[in-house]
């Protein structure tokens, strides 16, 4: 065999076959398929919705639609008087419910995404939600302040907690896990102090001054408006999310989050205000937890000092399922919406089918693993 060969020329221009091959390796040609193969979160969400559509029951008929079709138990899609009776997943109420029920987790996840992008974690959001819910209820129900003041109180309380977290993490260099764990415990305690350990509600315990009725404002926040589809709470979540999508993608602060999370030292040497970025990230996380607390109070009609217990885990799950890396520096806000929706829809599909809780937990665990596997495969490729 020839050991030393004459030099050969590398092909000057990439030939057609090579281009073809490169294109093939980039994925399917069809633009729709290509989009789906490159955005697996969307694909997963679509899959969930389609499966949901096939497996949710029709109104008044128990059991998954598909199974009923096979066994011949399904009602006709159009009943005798011409009204539609599709599987429930094809109705707007379900989707409006998913968004509404996920609004609190969603708000927490929005803030959590910011913190996780900086390679941090915030375990305190559940407790901060609790203290904010109690603050809001205390101001509105027990003190009778105008709603705006109560909302400001809740958001301010959340922001304050976040600010302290940020300070502990960036100035005192505590590990985020430890700092926010401390806040998780402390904020829960604070919630109990403010509420005296009771749920603050209209007509409630007599140690504080109580308004007779559930304030109209709280009811309004959770009643369907905007064409019967959206509730103000849902809208608050969506608007917050969209604003943060823009902030993360199109502002310096957003870019700094990635830089700090990816390589803190390199970021610092590039003139990134590392401390400020972290403090702002944690403060915003607290702020959104405060808003979530306000939503929680409106949704339950009371300020529960135990509200939000273990919510931090759901928020983290939504972020991670979306594909934002717990190691920091990689991910996106819009992915968090996907993550939240995937969990929300799966939950809903299982719930409308009246599936036993045990199986739901099982399915949720599986989904988390599968979603993360999909994401990590994308990275190693």
């Amino acid at each position: 065999m020839p050991e030393d060969r004459e030099p050969q020329e590398a092909p000057e221009t990439v030939d057609g076959a090579e281009m073809e091959e490169a294109a093939r390796r980039l994925g399917p040609r069809n633009p729709v398929l290509r989009f789906l193969s490159q955005n697996r979160g969307v694909t997963a969400l679509l899959a969930v919705v389609i499966l949901g559509a096939l497996f949710t029951p029709q109104r008044g008929v128990n059991g998954p639609y598909l199974v009923n079709v096979i066994t011949g138990h399904a009602e006709p899609l159009r009943d005798s008087d011409g009204a539609w009776n599709p599987p429930r997943f094809l109705t707007t109420k379900i989707h409006s419910d998913v968004l509404y029920e996920y609004a609190e987790y969603g708000l927490l996840a929005v803030g959590m995404t910011l913190v996780i992008l900086t390679a941090g974690i915030d375990l305190s959001v559940g407790s901060v939600l609790g203290i904010a819910a109690v603050t809001f209820a205390y101001l509105l129900i027990a003190r009778g302040t105008p709603p705006a003041v109560a909302i400001a109180g809740a958001a301010g309380m959340g922001t304050l907690c976040g600010l302290i977290n940020g300070f502990l993490v960036s100035k005192l260099h505590l590990q985020p896990f430890v700092a926010t764990l401390a806040m998780m415990v402390a904020a829960r305690g604070g919630a109990k102090v403010i509420s005296g350990g009771y749920k603050i509600q209209a007509g409630g315990a007599d140690w504080y001054w109580v308004q007779g009725d559930l304030p109209e404002f709280m009811t309004w926040m959770v009643s369907p408006s905007y064409g019967g589809f959206l509730r103000p709470v849902t809208l608050l979540f969506i608007v917050s999310l969209l604003v943060m999508v823009v902030v993360v993608k199109y502002t310096r602060f957003g870019r700094y989050l990635y830089a700090v999370g990816g390589n803190e030292e390199a970021a610092r040497l590039s003139g990134v205000p590392v401390t400020g970025t972290k403090i702002l990230a944690y403060s915003l996380c607290g702020f959104f937890a405060g808003l979530a607390g306000f939503c929680n109070a409106c949704r339950t009609g009371l300020g529960n000092p135990e509200a939000g217990t273990t919510f931090e885990l759901d928020a983290i799950a939504a972020v991670v399922i979306g594909g934002t890396s717990l190691a920091g520096g990689r991910g996106a806000m819009i992915l968090t919406l996907l993550g939240a929706l995937i969990v929300g829809y799966i939950d809903k599909a299982l719930s409308v089918n009246n599936v036993d809780v045990a199986y739901r937990l099982l399915a949720k665990g599986l989904i988390i693993v599968i979603a993360v596997v999909i994401q990590s495969r994308r990275r190693t490729n």
Partner: protein
Amino acid sequence: MSTRGMITVAMAFAMVAAVLAGCSAPERGDAGGTQTVVSTGAGPAGTDAGAPEALAYPEGYECVFNADCGWQQEAATKEMNSALSTQPEIHVVFGHNDPSAYGAYLAAQQEGEGREEQIKFIGIDGLAHEGINYVRQGSLDVTFYYPSGGPEAIKAAVRILGGEKVAQNIALGTKLITAENVDSGGEEMPPDEMPGWETADVLDEGDLPQLSGDQYLIGMSQCNLAEPWRKQMDADIAAAAADHPELKVLFKDAQGKAETQQAHVREFIDQGVDLIIISPLEAQPLTEPVEEAMKEGIPVIVLDRKIASDNYTCYIGGANVKMGREAGKWVRRQFPEGCKIVELTGLMTSTPAQERHEGFLLGLNTPDSELGTEAPAVEPAEPEAPAEPTEDDAAVEPDANAAATLTEEAPAEEAATE
């Protein structure tokens, strides 16, 4: 390419499997998988149910939706949303506690189609600032008062310390509270008669003994003070003990940890208390410490949940089955022809939820003859029961401007139904 395919298939599989596994349950006739009656022996009614034949919803009473809400209001709202979107017809929502029922009410109300008007919401617990409040607001149609047993425990303690013998098992009853009777304290429902069980009335037979010693120390171990009802229990005990200056009660909170509660009992023994009151978190882990105390000669009063042996001085509780049963009977009376029911259970791995569910089925299966009627004939008989008027009133007593609250109700509801 193939891995992506595999993952999609796996995902589809996971969902299909979960949906199918869960969905087959309602079609089998009983909702959910945990419906076989578990006779834990804790409830007075459950023990004599005879053959362990599975209880089910009777003919005509269909459970169209059933979900484990883990006692959580938020979870109940969420599940109720699902029920509302799949079930065109719902007549009754039975929540295992008041927050669950209230959460379901809010779901119906927030849907904005006025369905909350057509559904009867049943709760349990009847705490002053929760269930009673919701009934007064008109959110819940009925709630069943869950006595804490605190005042009875102090009475029993005084008798035991005074050298008397008290019945080993004392069953508590409940109170049916509706909008009509909420201001008069509710309708008494004394416990069912069972062999081996006495009612709380025995504690009022004869004068309480005069305690001789100058100071008695009672150790009270509460399993989890984060629950409002248990907070109420401690408050009841403290209030009742305040009438006996010679008693001093030491309160401890195990914060939901069985190990901590075990430690409590040992500490009480070391401290040399004269009597122990315990509301155990779980039966098994606390059996041994309680037996140890008994061996040391310290009497032990067990509240609400039992321990796994008969080696205790006095047990007071057992209202869970009773409350479920009365709820079931109430449904029977309201809908003699049958109805469609949504059951939002508590944490089904816990005994109270199991007993409330079991009691509910017992109540629904009650033969017509034993139902009792809405007939006022029964009513006068009930209040005559010499129940402890003071304590009960404390628990149910509306705040001073109750009437005012009631009248302010209307505008709020108007706003809600818009």
